[in-house]
Symmetry: C2
Subunit: 209 residues, 2 copies
Amino acid sequence: MDKMISQAVIRRLPRYYRYLGELLDDGVERISSNDLSKRMHVTASQIRQDLNNFGGFGQQGYGYNVAYLHEEIGNILGVNETHNVIVIGAGNLGQAIAGYVKFEKHGFRIIGLFDINPELKGKRVRDLTIQMLDDLPEFVKHNDVEIAALTLPKTSAKTVAMKVVNLGIHAIWNFAHVDLDDIENVVIENVHLSDSLMQLSYNITQHKN
Amino acid sequence: MDKMISQAVIRRLPRYYRYLGELLDDGVERISSNDLSKRMHVTASQIRQDLNNFGGFGQQGYGYNVAYLHEEIGNILGVNETHNVIVIGAGNLGQAIAGYVKFEKHGFRIIGLFDINPELKGKRVRDLTIQMLDDLPEFVKHNDVEIAALTLPKTSAKTVAMKVVNLGIHAIWNFAHVDLDDIENVVIENVHLSDSLMQLSYNITQHKN
């Protein structure tokens, strides 16, 4: 598989996966790139180009097999395997993430919820018990943790991220309002909610004029 | 101002704003595009190009005035004005969003939290009292609501979005796992957490190989 696939294509893949999942749920077996294009509001040529990065999947004039394409994109995205996730920061957002059952459907299994606030120790969130961050090294020894979601204040995010990486966790889903790009040997995906809200307000302003 | 600024540039603006805010907090008065480039891990030419979309802001060999650039980018993003926000869906995520005080610093004032679950009626989240969605039309009459954040299951998101738009709210911050692009006359910003998690798992898989 081509390793030089742009992040722009990667950003679009989950959306394909989501639409194909909906088609599957609706019992659709086959779809042309034109029909998929109408549903997704992207051009058919964009769809063909994107999917060609991975070898195509379609037959000319015959369209895509929905189940097959869904499965294959799932494989590319790695969502047909199980990924163990811990959440560090058991505030509102951390509890929301930890309680979000939908992630499990896509193979992301939340297996631990950590905080530094002793008042939260032992509190239950769904089937998880909030643990103290000091217990993380021991937890990591006994559990195969692949991803750490950081729902922390920006002041502690970097320190905790380094700690996590030193414990051998090499993927961070970062909700803290800070970039963690300086840390080596780790894959990072940022969800900057304030940035997203600012894009919205920019587009509101433009829309008004 | 040029209206044809690409969404790629817009996506980068909040990040400039964030870094400039940190520089301001650190007491930095002036910064060259080279130094900003090192901090942000983007090329200096990218920074100059991005900012030139809005007329520049820098003087050759003199660098950027941090406070001025921060203020100007804030103006472009519309974060120096107040935007009233309501949150619809008072589950974990809705409560997390409603309780996130940082948004206020950037002018986003959460003024209402709504749900359809009668058990949540009257519950307090920060200084907000959860109201029933049926009361929204009356609320909108008496309050200037600009943005509705939808933290709802995907099955109800579309219906609620249409309702919101019919009430005269023309900006939606959508956390539901569905695109709302078909709705007219509304500015939408999506936060698809599952999509983000899938990008992370794609990049983990690539990193392993």
